[in-house]
């Protein structure tokens, strides 16, 4: 009951942030990233402080853990990454359905079924060999975007990192849509081996492992970005917003997600 109150309060707060920004003047209107508009910030000072905090935590804890993880043999890392992705696909499946992308839902469900069984709890990925490739991870923030919701303003949360109003609401929605969360947090589930094996901390282990796996794959990319940025906060913001736009469009084609009109103005030949 208390947890539900907290969730509703967070959603209410985030919706209010969105409403405050929506009600402001035209110069501050919320527009999704495009050629003319940019996603505005709410509380930039707070966000920069949180960014600094997160950066410090990354250097102190997260990066060393990722480097240690990278020292593990490739098959172990590959298997771990596959297993985490397999569990993650359940949230993707929920959102495929909500977005009305039933073809992709079929692909996701097929991958989960094959990889969980033949692939031994997702450690291996035999589904890809059978032509069922992973197309991309979905979440409720993306679903809201597909449904037409604007991104809202950009801000940075402690530990959780960059987000927008829409994506933050999406994060809250994810917990209701993610079967993994529901199973590990639902005390009423006692089927199978009993709820003690699905306790809440398993969910955080799973999410934490996924985060470490991702970080380990991007050590050099992050270092390069840090070394070559003159405003790392702004670089991360830009990359985050571009990435979200690309994911909502479900497209890797640059011309479908990047507005070219800016380039048309530049003639140097």
């Amino acid at each position: 009951m208390i947890r539900k109150i907290i969730f509703v309060s967070i959603m209410g707060l985030l919706l209010q942030i969105g409403a405050v920004n929506a009600g402001t003047t035209g110069s501050e209107e919320m527009k999704d990233s495009g050629s003319q508009g940019t996603t505005k910030e709410c509380f930039e000072g707070f966000s920069r402080a949180m960014f600094k905090l997160n950066h410090g935590l990354d250097k102190a804890i997260f990066e060393p853990v990722a480097k240690g993880y990278r020292a593990l043999p490739v098959p172990i890392r590959k298997g771990t990454g596959n297993a985490v992705d397999n569990l993650r696909s359940l949230l993707t499946l929920s959102n495929n359905i909500l977005q009305g992308d039933f073809k992709e839902a079929g692909n996701t469900a097929g991958r989960f079924a094959i990889n969980t069984t033949v692939g031994i709890l997702g450690i291996f990925d035999p589904a890809a060999a059978l032509g069922l490739e992973e197309k991309g991870k979905e979440d409720f923030g993306q679903t809201l975007g597909v449904w037409g919701s604007e991104s809202g303003c950009y801000f940075v949360l402690p530990i959780l990192g960059p987000t927008t109003t829409r994506d933050a609401i999406g994060m809250v929605g994810n917990v209701f849509l993610d079967p993994v969360y529901q199973i590990t947090h639902n005390n009423e589930i006692t089927t199978g081996v009993g709820n003690s094996n699905y306790s809440e901390h398993n969910y955080f282990y799973y999410r934490g492992t996924g985060a470490v796996d991702f970080r380990a794959k991007n050590i050099e990319s992050f270092d390069s970005l840090e070394e070559n940025s003159i405003d790392l906060y702004a670089s991360i913001k830009s990359l985050y917003l571009q990435d979200r736009k690309k994911k909502i469009a479900n497209s890797l084609s640059a011309v479908e997600t990047q507005d070219d009109s800016d380039w048309e103005e530049i003639d140097t030949n």
């Binding site: 794959k217 070559n228 702004a234 913001k237 830009s238 990435d243 690309k246 640059a254 070219d260 530049i266």
Partner: protein, 198 residues
């Protein structure tokens, strides 16, 4: 007859040597040649300084650094004087070359497959490629925005890595520096100088 033949050969060699290596005018082939040349430099057993010098030479010949610089300045370009634009272009070139070489140096033996080219319009072609996976990094899709207004001399204007445009990221970064200094573009110049000198 023989004299004319040797004269033709002589001038052809002169032309070729003065231009250095001439890249293909076909965008896809152009990118393939650049990738191949960069890879040879990165795997060679030269010193870091030699590699950086050679990579810089590639960038100067194949990237439209001036165009990229103007793009990343965005709307602030229109408020600058000719002198400020000139100064910015000089600073941007140094900044670009330094960061380009630094980013490329992270790869010791990049394996890039150039896959296809899509003509967007008479001025731009998008060349698609794939950086193959290693045991440390997953495979990465890289699109190259090639400026083809002069069809004989294509130039790179942007790299879009897994759908994320480096030029756009740069542009928004520069805009952030300018906006956090109340629209003062000269602060960007100072920041670029600091980066170049670090």
């Amino acid at each position: 007859m023989k004299k004319n033949f040797f004269i033709i050969i002589f001038f052809s060699l002169l032309l070729f040597s003065s231009n250095g290596f001439a890249y293909s005018s076909d965008p896809k082939q152009f990118i393939a040649e650049i990738v191949d040349e960069a890879k040879k430099i990165l795997v060679a057993t030269n010193t870091k300084e030699v590699k950086e010098k050679k990579l810089t030479e590639i960038a100067l010949k194949t990237a439209d650094i001036k165009g990229i610089g103007f793009y990343t300045l965005g709307k602030y370009r229109k408020g600058l004087t000719e002198e400020q634009l000139k100064k910015y272009s000089e600073l941007f070139e140094k900044y670009f070359l330094k960061s380009f070489v630094s980013r490329l140096s992270d790869y010791s033996d990049p394996k890039i497959e150039v896959l296809s080219a899509e003509v967007l319009n008479p001025k731009y072609t998008m060349v698609k490629s794939l950086l193959l996976a290693t045991d440390k990094k997953p495979e990465v899709k890289i699109d190259w925005r090639v400026y083809t207004k002069n069809p004989e001399k294509p130039l790179i204007r942007d790299l879009i890595v897994e759908g994320l445009s480096l030029a756009r990221t740069q542009k928004e970064e520069f805009a952030s520096v300018i906006e956090t200094n109340n629209g003062d573009v000269t602060k960007l110049f100072i920041t670029l100088k600091e980066f170049i000198n670090k």
